[in-house]
Amino acid sequence: MDPADRGDRPDRNWTVTVDADPRLERVAEALCTLADGRFGTRGSREEDGAGSAPLTLAAGVYHDPGGGTTLLPGPVWTGLDTAPPLGHDRRELDLHGGVLRRTWRTAGGTTLHTLRFASLARPGVVGLRAEGSPGALGAGPALLPPGGGIDVEQGRQRDIAWVRTRSAGGGGITAAACQHTTDGGRVVERLAVYLADPGQAPPPEAATERLREVERVGFDRLLAEHRAAWAARWADAEVTIQGDPDTELAVRFALFHLLASAAEEGEAAVGARGLTGPVYAGHVFWDADVFVLPVLAAVDPAAARAMLEYRIRRLGPARELAAAQGRSGARFAWESAADGTEVTPLWATDRQGNRVRIRTGELEDHIVADVAWAACRYVDWTGEGAVLDGPGRALLLEGARYWASRVRRDQAGRAHVDGVIGPDEYHVEVGDNAFTNVMARWHLRRAAELAERAGGATAEEVAAWRGLADALVDGYDPATGRYRQFAGFDDLEPLLIGELARPPVAADLLLGRDRVRAAQVVKQADVLMLHLLVPEETAAGSLAPNLAFYGPRTAHGSSLSPAVHAALLARAGDPDRALELFRVACRLDLDDLTGTTAGGLHVATMGGVWQALTTGFCGLRPTDEALELDPCLPAAWDSVEVRLRYHGRRLHLRAGHDHLELATDGPVAVRLSGLAARTVVPPGTTWRRVGTAWEGESK
């Protein structure tokens, strides 16, 4: 038993082990981040070692140091005055308990152990326990200011140390900590409390007062509470893959960080790297809406609701952005931070060292429909239609007004969207991008339905939206079953990426921006994304021909792409090829496939992993009337078990190749291929596959 733990050893199937490698130290820190939805602390070594970048961040607390808005670093609570490792140095991240352990041996032969947690039960409360020997282990300061020229104040109130970091805008992060050394100097126990406010730096007194409260609870009870909170979280989210333990662990790793990425109340600004690192500056992209929110809607609805709230509260700036562009309604920023204004950088460096203009902020209009889609997907999973009838209604209606003002009608009455960037960002300022147009069409139709039910738009507006939706060109060719990615795509240089390099590959770096722009090489799923998000808006039977055409043309240069293709390959009946790409997505951060995991984890890819598993392999699709089920597993898997929530019910799905079992805590409407919608009554229902259909029986 690990002396610092004083609890049961974790299950190997729930533990990510990271042995120290000096070159990959910052990757280890990111992988071992502990977060509670509000604060995230990287899994940095306790001693001050070369290459280490300890960091604590607070969700939604940004500052502007002059080079663009970024997340404000908070005080550091993980430092100890200890001897560095010589040889053995291992971190173990216990996913089920939310605990990070480290064991290392010093030059003097002493073995040191630490354990830390970021309380899921009490967000903002963190704990660290270290055990070693008096000569090798010293407490050192309980809190340290972050580096980087951040505005810092610090002080003490008797035995409590406090540190406060401030943003230029007045917000800040305040931490208070206390620690005790016992057992003759062998054990150091530290507790800290974090408070944060994007508008006003919290007073130290508030942090110290809260710290005294948690100090009375005690380290061991706080740890037990925390473990219980994680156990409860996993009860609604656990995934088991029989026959593939490595992939199972990787999926659990993804879920662990997803579950820690968003708070369950207020608003949640989930940046591209969550709370696991400084890269992407905490900026919020479509990644959050399309890849992360649907996962949380199914496994932690309160957190998904908080993500939705982030968008709802930024409708004002979205309206201003639309107005500034001469449009109606609301147009969300492509990258946003605290106030919802556009914070996309305008310049980048290309592969030849040239400065190039970045136009995603200006042209990636599909963000408008992405936000609306996420809101609807939230309702599909939770059944909480009141959100769209009430505070979320404007997300759909104002977005529809934007599209109505954005679309151009030609003389024949057809509607076009000119000058956009789709998910395939290799091609800039294109017309009639299929993804953008079809998502806009879906958005206009859903907004019309909502307005007819819940009001908020005139009858003339609703009629106009429906008319526009019907008039929008989508590039579909019934003869081939294929959607044209954008006007002119078929005239570009035909190029199969596999003839140049083995994907995934960053084709823009390999070939240059001009070459990829002039060729049929696609960064990530674009047309195909439609078959994942809005299959009801695509032509029946069009998935296979579009996979056949766009698959070989896709470089997967976006970290989002492999998971999407995995989901669609599974839906197309090719689960074994799907598994190959699924494993790439699963290992993206664990193997640092991007070379940038050091700066934080790719939380949207993690969301894609869960969606590929559930939507792709399990065939789960939530709708208003029923949860659709249609498993299609790779040969390497014996079965998959998924826990999630649908319309307020807790579901435990177990899918094998020819067997399907669903346990719920109440009646749930489901639909399987070959069966009409039906109600399932607990304790469970089983089905067996007969040909391509399922035959079921209730227990």
């Binding site: 290459g51 890269v279 960053a506 770096l509 976006s558």
Partner: protein, 161 residues
């Protein structure tokens, strides 16, 4: 072919490099040290390489390291250049050229062309290239080309054959 790298496998080879840098340090500007790191993160590099670059940097020489993308070295993923370029560069240097003050340039294309191009653009007084110590006809194409065309002195840093 892009294997150009700073690699020194023995102190006997490293010492002359250090002596050169020290002796000429105040007059040298921006030698180009090319680094070759594969997609899986492995590199034909060693602790000795890092030390060599550290010595150069410590002697007051400004160093520009160069990484040339080809099918074996180009990153697999590049989500957004406006964010990833800086993040990837920072981490690449931290892993492969951690001495303070070393700048990284990245290029795509034929390595010898890019080495000479960057050396010219940076006003380099010297170029440093790794060399596998084999001069068979099918080997060392980049070294041969740079040696033939370079207008500034070239240091070859021997690496394990």
């Amino acid at each position: 072919v892009t294997t150009i790298l700073a690699a020194v496998d023995a102190s006997a080879a490293a010492q002359p490099v250090l002596d050169t840098a020290t002796a000429l340090g105040r007059t040298l500007r921006m030698p180009v040290v090319a680094i070759h790191v594969r997609q899986d993160g492995t590199a034909d590099t060693s602790r000795a390489v890092e030390q060599t670059m550290g010595w150069f940097a410590g002697s007051g020489v400004e160093i520009v390291s160069l990484h040339v993308f080809d099918t074996t070295t180009v990153p697999r993923f590049w989500d957004r250049p406006e964010h990833d370029h800086a993040a990837w560069t920072r981490e690449f240097l931290a892993r492969n050229a951690p001495a303070a003050g070393i700048r990284l340039q990245v290029r795509s294309g034929w390595p010898s062309d890019r080495v000479l191009e960057v050396a010219s653009a940076e006003g380099a007084d010297m170029i440093a290239l790794g060399w596998g110590r084999r001069l068979a006809p099918d080997r060392a194409a980049v070294v041969r080309e740079v040696l033939t065309r370079t207008p500034v002195p070239l240091i070859l840093l021997p690496r394990p054959a």
